[in-house]
Amino acid sequence: MLFLIIKRILLGLITLFIVSLITFVGTEILPGDACTTYLERQAFGEQLEACYRRLGLNVPAYERYVSWAVNAIQGDFGYSLSGEMPIKEVLGPRIKNSLVLASAAIFIGIPIALILGIVTALWRDKLPDVAISTVTIFAMTIPEFISATLLILIIAIWLEWLPGIVIVPTDVSFLELLPNIILPVIAIAMIMTAHMARMVRSSVIQVMASEYVQMAILKGVPYWKMVFKHVLPNALLPAINVVALTIAWLLGGVVVTEVVFNYPGLGRLVIESISNRDLPTVQALAIILASIYVSINLLADLMTLMLNPRLKTLQIRK
């Protein structure tokens, strides 16, 4: 058990190490470096030398990687090129804002997804299922920027209920942020809820078809008692992993949503730093987002492991 946990953590760390290598090599082999892209036409002679010295680009690549990695582990990602301030300080408020957005979406999304998933599974192929499933297909296949744009068009422009874009400074208090984040949260929660509801549905359907549930029915266990005692505990277990993957997958979608609503989170920083060719910030973002992905997955694996006694003795899926 302990061995398995340690093994999972080690695998996660190896993945992160490869990610850091990929981003480092990626920014290295692609044409141009941080200084030439930043200085553009003034990239020659004195200025280029000064820039190289300032960013420490005048030493061999592997030395730079090692020093970058050592600093990154301590939370120091160097200096951002465009803002000319420590990346740590740029990231701080952004991470907070994105966390607010993501956790609001998760707290709204998970209960709704559970209810919808269970309802659609229990009334499979009946009216509630057909209606809800149709809506979830639409909600999960339509790109984030389309649902976000439609939300703005209908709720902010036509109905004038809520502000359409977020026009607050990066470091704003939570209460001031609140009316601004309602639409972005709905946009993100919609897609996430749809995905999770479908997963819960198929998971519940699978368990309902299993032999021990048939047995419970034959034994005369009351329907709702059977659902809550026998079906749900077993059906929700595999859903944990899927929920984690859905959340991790949303990291990409959040970028687009944040841009549409002009929300000052990590996602908009991704776009800003790439537009400005701010490679140090891009590297830092890549490693941070990948760490979030890896830790969410790790957490889900560990939770499944804790909750499922059968898995303790088996080797976890690779």
Binding site: I18, I146, A286
Partner: protein, 297 residues
């Protein structure tokens, strides 16, 4: 030689098999709707250059932001270009890029997956770790990095999308190969002294093909989503190419008084994505593959 006939089911031509799958797909309501939408879009993509009423890049300042009328069915945009023309041509861009992108993804992802599943051991471990690492970088960050450094031409976009959406197929192909590889017919093929290549081509590929194709169909709709998101963010195809993501992002700022120029591409893109999705789902069901428990990786 006679033995062969006992073990082989009645031989159907490939054409008959494909027709049978399509009929099974269309026999469900969702599959029928999906197929119809997809066929509509594909046909439109082929004929749109011939039926487009106006030039898609003809700028006309006197006709800026006209409301829909008999002359301009979907109105005009902020540069006076016909929105109908640009919308029907937009599908052409999206379908071409994502179709070839998916083909590339299928090819390299499928072959690498089969290879890893077959050889196993250290090579397999190393490749899968790298694939895992790529999976954990958010797709949008990686795609943005590639196109912002290499440029946003079609020649960059197709391989970049193909590369990025292939990594998920590697996992599926590998898992499918693992399922097949322990079966008796592989063992007997080895006993008959067939080469590795012959085993892959004649025994493994026919058995993992369905799983890989279904995954590829699903990737197609995700790739379309990814590609249009890139265009929307300004990192996809460059103007004045008629493209839905680009049109939506252009028209978004003006939608408080010219909503038609944003609605038309939204309907186009949403319907195509839903069409591909429903078709992929029906395809999976027709082949008897359950994808419903899969997470979107």
């Amino acid at each position: 030689m006679k033995l062969d006939n006992i073990y082989q089911e009645e031989k159907k031509s490939n054409f008959a098999k494909v027709a049978e799958i399509i009929i099974t797909m269309a026999s469900r309501p969702s599959g029928f709707i999906g197929l119809s939408i997809l066929i509509f879009h594909v046909v439109l993509a082929f004929i749109s250059p011939y039926i487009a009423p106006y030039d898609f890049k003809a700028i006309n300042p006197t006709l800026m932001l006209q409301a829909p009328s008999a002359e301009y069915w979907f109105g005009t945009d902020d540069l006076g270009r016909d929105v109908f023309t640009r919308t029907i041509l937009g599908g052409r861009t999206a379908l071409t890029i994502t179709f070839f992108g998916s083909l590339i993804a299928l090819l390299w992802g499928g072959l690498l997956g089969i290879f890893c599943g077959l050889v196993g051991g250290k090579t397999d471990d190393i490749v899968m770790r790298i694939v895992d690492a790529f999976l954990s970088i958010p797709w949008i960050l990686a795609m943005l990095l590639i196109v912002s450094l290499l440029g946003t031409s079609t020649e960059v976009l197709i391989p970049a999308l193909g590369f990025f959406y292939g990594k998920g197929i590697v996992r599926v192909a590998r898992a499918a190969t693992h399922d097949v590889i322990a079966k008796d017919f592989i063992v007997s093929a080895r006993a008959r002294g067939h080469s590795n290549f012959s085993i892959i081509w004649n025994e493994i590929i026919p058995n993992v093909r369905d799983a890989i194709l279904v995954e590829g169909a699903m990737r197609w709709s995700w790739m379309l989503l990814g590609f249009s998101s890139l265009s929307f963010l300004g990192f996809g195809v460059s103007p004045p190419t008629p493209d839905w993501g680009l049109m939506i992002s252009n028209a978004r700022g003006l939608m408080s008084f010219a909503y038609w120029s944003v609605i038309a591409p939204i309907v186009g893109l949403s319907s195509l994505i839903i069409g591909i999705n429903l078709t992929a789902d029906a395809f999976a069901k027709a082949l008897g593959i359950d994808r419903s428990t899969k997470a979107p990786v």
